[in-house]
Symmetry: C2
Subunit: 155 residues, 2 copies
């Protein structure tokens, strides 16, 4: 494992420094009802994200975080654990939420580089495909994200 908090401040990876199979583990983030409701009120104001009682009779069966909230927390955890030179710049990716994020969950992200492709048209950069799993304290996968990142080559 590389990329824990302390490393991030010390060394940043260029495309040339990365390899397929390289893994990064994030710190943890505890999510609570107040965070879930605050995010939902601003960005995803649906009953199952706003109040536990209203969520009971829905598909979720109880208060659940917006998937975009899980994605945003995942990004926060990646910023602290993935020391890419020039920062984490995503071009896009595939996201899935196999189970809802609940109040009291403690989120942690494990990431692995699955592909590295130097750009043919832009010799100063390349595309890195990173697969990130966001899990809770029971090891249940809440989100999978396969992201395409723009990463600079070593100057």
């Amino acid at each position: 494992m590389t990329g824990a908090g302390a490393d991030a401040a010390e060394r940043r990876f260029y495309l040339d420094d990365l390899h397929v199979g390289q893994r990064f583990a994030s710190a943890a983030h505890a999510i609570d009802e107040a965070q879930i409701i605050a995010f939902a009120a601003q960005f995803d104001p649906q009953p199952f994200h706003l109040a536990d009682e209203a969520a009971r009779g829905t598909l979720f069966g109880g208060l659940a975080a917006s998937g975009w909230h899980t994605a945003a927390i995942t990004m926060r955890l990646l910023v602290g654990s993935l020391p890419i030179a020039g920062g984490i710049v995503g071009a896009g990716g595939e996201i899935a939420w196999p189970r809802p994020t609940r109040p009291g969950d403690v989120l942690q992200v494990e990431s692995e580089i699955v592909e590295i492709a130097p750009s043919a048209s832009r010799p100063d950069r390349g595309l890195v495909t990173l697969r990130s799993e966001t899990r809770n304290q029971r090891g249940e996968t809440l989100q999978t994200l396969t992201a395409r990142l723009v990463v600079p080559r070593r100057p």
Copy 2:
């Protein structure tokens, strides 16, 4: 076009009410520097999302919103424009950010149903694939999202 704000309060669509090619247009949301910085400080604290000056020397060339912020605003606009019975429940999807969201951009989302698949194992629901484009006031596409939504059948 269906699904403007007023309709959403009046009628909600079950799987059986939807058809491929059906389109939905959202209201508009104006994003400014303060919103961009507030979201980034909480979820994506990287220099190009936090300060215009720091962003100048980066790939973005100036302050840009986190892609997850664009996604969250898109969700907010979908909630107001896509009147699905039971709410908008996403199982996942593909997202891309072909160009950055900038301060002063006015975001608007146009969505189209591209596939409807009743569930084989769960006769009370189905999966709807929705393609949403988030554009700014110049018609430039900032985000494309192809989402898989869980939609109940008419009881």
